[in-house]
């Protein structure tokens, strides 16, 4: 695509405008996190704190066993991501590349799992996990991921559907078996979408609050998101540590995203050519 000057100006203007919208709340969170208690609430609002209190971050981190929470969050996030990648790529491949009996019904069933509000299945699910003896362990958060999630399966299916059929037919003629086709031909093509699923899952799980809240009760099992919420009491929220830990919590997924971009950029086409 050729880029004219006018085009460039429009693009930059839009980029900057949107960046303002997306960045301002972060900026405000950062300013707040660096303030003293008095400055936080003062009116008119202060945009530059008298002294940037980076110690607020250290205090917030040390006020709870965030080291433990971090470890738990990493375990849950890594495990679920592995689980989702394996299960969802298999299932999506099945739905996208084959015709079989009951396929449409099964697919609707799959989608329908996204549509039931969490509120009403939560208690029965709790009972089930309790029966397994999984309450107050990380298992309820990890194990289901190994059986896929509708969102990720649907997403991968949409990408897989958009690859010409000739691909596997050609491979079959060359004598590849069905699993080899999936593993050796399709997985490499799907590098972009799979990275996408990984990134989306990491962020979802990293921030998940209700799951850990319901299934975990012991502080030693808590995740980062639960720790963050613990700054919020019934009557009052501790705004400075909340802002500080929100910003800290954003760092790991942003780093992941920054490096994952390069694979996502390859999109679908990457290795076909």
């Amino acid at each position: 695509m050729k880029i004219t000057r006018k085009h460039k100006i429009i693009v930059y203007t839009l980029l900057v405008l949107f960046s303002l919208y997306f960045l301002f709340p972060f900026l405000w969170a950062l300013i707040t996190a660096l303030k003293t208690q008095q400055e936080v609430f003062s009116y008119p609002p202060k945009f530059i704190p008298d002294a940037a209190l980076f110690s607020n971050f250290i205090e917030a981190w040390n006020s709870q066993p965030f080291g433990v929470y971090f470890k738990n969050s990493v375990i849950v996030t890594v495990m679920t991501t592995i689980g989702q990648l394996i299960s969802c790529s298999l299932v999506a491949y099945g739905f996208a590349r084959y015709d079989f009996k009951f396929k449409n019904i099964l697919f609707i069933l799959l989608l329908s799992t996204m549509m039931i509000p969490w509120d009403v299945t939560m208690i029965p699910l709790y009972m089930e996990f309790n029966m397994f003896g999984w309450i107050n362990t990380l298992k309820p958060l990890i194990v289901p991921a190994f059986f896929g999630s509708a969102y990720n399966i649907f997403l991968l299916r949409q990408f897989l559907m958009n690859i010409p059929k000739d691909l596997e037919n050609a491979a079959r003629i060359d004598g590849a078996n069905e699993f080899q086709i999936f593993y050796k031909i399709f997985l490499p093509i799907m590098k972009g979408p799979l990275t996408l699923v990984a990134v989306l899952n990491i962020i979802l799980v990293w921030n998940d609050y209700l799951g850990p809240l319901i299934y975990l009760s012991d502080q030693s099992k808590y995740t980062m998101a639960l720790g963050l919420a613990s700054f919020q009491g019934l009557h009052e929220l501790q705004i400075i540590p909340i802002m500080a830990m929100t910003l800290v919590m954003v760092i790991p997924p942003v780093i992941v995203f920054f490096f994952a971009q390069k694979y996502i950029v390859e999109g679908l086409s990457g290795s076909i050519k």
Partner: protein
């Protein structure tokens, strides 16, 4: 070729089922630890440093009681969701913090027989009013741990700026409005009074009490109570302060606005004592003003601890509850909770403390009032209806006539 493919799926399937079975084999025998100790789960809604302090107390209990191990679980702001889920799945903690007893009464163990065993003196050492708040009907469901009444917080600096005298016990709503008017300064964006635009109906009833009204009578009837002239007058008074511009409504409880230092007065519980201090607000507290010659009253936000009906170790649970509500524990928690034992209050001379005494005098003034939530069965629904009515009255974009909307909801 066929084999390898099938092989893969078999491995996958086996792996999956292994995960499931391996995990479930751990089973749930969480009530007894290996060394034969009874494990008690104890849920708190407190957060931050308060939890640390509670953990210290628990460590002490565990050290003193070799046969019991108490595990603290802190749920924070979503306390009710978590408790509800646990109860629904018959997996509630053995001992838990509680205030909304009517809502959870069916899941809680009545404590009357346990308390009876301790003797009259034990019971009498707690403030009488608090037992009402920890019971439903005739049954005691919890032991009082702490409480707060509501008081007026006022910003001393703003009073000084305008050369106003600090309010004193025994003042009236007329004094209050006069003060609010004098404090208000549009140019500086200073308002006399801030109250929530969506007040919690549980809390708001205290203003009606002060005017000799309430939402319902002893039988739970709204007619003639919520829409009594006194009740409507109360709503009209709050609304008129908004119309005159001497008060604003807030999105939250109003503590944020108070902390900005631009609000003269604010009515709420003891939760904000340390928070306002940290925010650098030079504040004082005083009793809620009265309607004419009536004595003002306050709702009591009580915190107690209750025992789950499904607990397998009730005797041990009560032993722990006794410890948690005992003298020593009351003293240890004084930094964030008002003691509920008469002898502790006396010993620590809390009725002489310039700030804390206000909460105790409000408590005495509020004896004998029963919140509607303890009278009617369906409080959560009524509360939601009332909440909407309050908003219609107090929201600046509606400011509906109290008489009309209240009569509507009574029907």
């Amino acid at each position: 070729m066929k084999l390898s493919k099938m092989h893969f799926f078999v491995v996958l399937l086996v792996a999956a089922s292994l995960i499931v079975s391996a995990c479930s084999s751990t089973g749930s025998n969480a009530t007894k630890t290996e060394d034969g100790k009874v494990t008690l789960r104890f849920a708190t809604w407190d957060v931050g440093d308060d939890v640390k302090l509670q953990q210290k107390l628990i460590d002490q209990f565990n050290a003193e009681n070799k046969d019991i191990k108490v595990v603290l679980e802190a749920y924070g702001s979503e306390y009710d969701t978590k408790i509800t889920a646990g109860m629904g799945a018959k997996d509630a903690p053995d001992v838990m913090y509680m205030w909304n007893y009517p809502q959870y009464q069916n899941a809680l163990e009545p404590l009357d027989s346990y308390i009876k065993d301790k003797g009259e003196e034990y019971k009498e050492n707690f403030y009488e009013t608090l037992w009402n708040y920890n019971s439903v009907g005739e049954e005691i469901l919890g032991l009082p741990v702490g409480y707060t009444t509501h008081v007026v917080y006022y910003n001393k600096d703003l009073f000084d700026e305008k050369g106003l005298e600090y309010p004193e016990s025994g003042w009236t709503w007329e004094d209050f409005q006069e003060t609010a008017e004098k404090l208000t300064d549009k140019d500086k964006k200073i308002t006399g009074f801030a109250f929530p635009g969506q007040p919690d109906p549980y809390d708001f009833e205290m203003f009606l009490w002060g005017n000799g009204a309430s939402y319902v009578d002893g039988e739970g009837k709204l007619e003639g109570n919520l829409n009594s002239p006194e009740s409507i007058q109360t709503f009209e008074m709050f609304q008129s302060m908004l119309k005159e511009g001497i008060a604003i409504t807030t999105e939250g409880w109003g503590d944020t606005e108070m902390k900005s230092g631009r609000v003269g007065m604010f009515i709420n519980g003891a939760w904000y004592l340390s928070a306002f201090e940290e925010a650098g607000i030079n504040y004082g507290v005083v009793e809620i003003p009265a309607f004419g010659n009536n004595e003002s009253a306050s709702i009591v936000s009580s915190s107690g601890i209750a025992m789950s009906k499904d607990s397998k170790h009730k005797e041990e649970a009560f032993r722990f509850m006794e410890f948690w509500t005992g003298e020593q524990a009351n003293k240890e928690r004084m930094s964030f909770e008002l003691p509920v034992l008469k002898n502790v209050v006396e010993e620590e001379k809390l009725t002489e403390d310039p700030v804390k005494k206000v909460f105790y005098s409000m408590l005495e003034q509020s004896e004998g009032y029963t919140p509607t939530s303890f009278i009617i069965d369906d409080w959560s629904n009524l509360s939601e209806d009332l909440s909407l009515v309050f908003e219609q009255i107090f929201n600046p974009s509606t400011l509906m006539e109290p008489k009309k909307v209240i009569n509507d909801v009574v029907k």
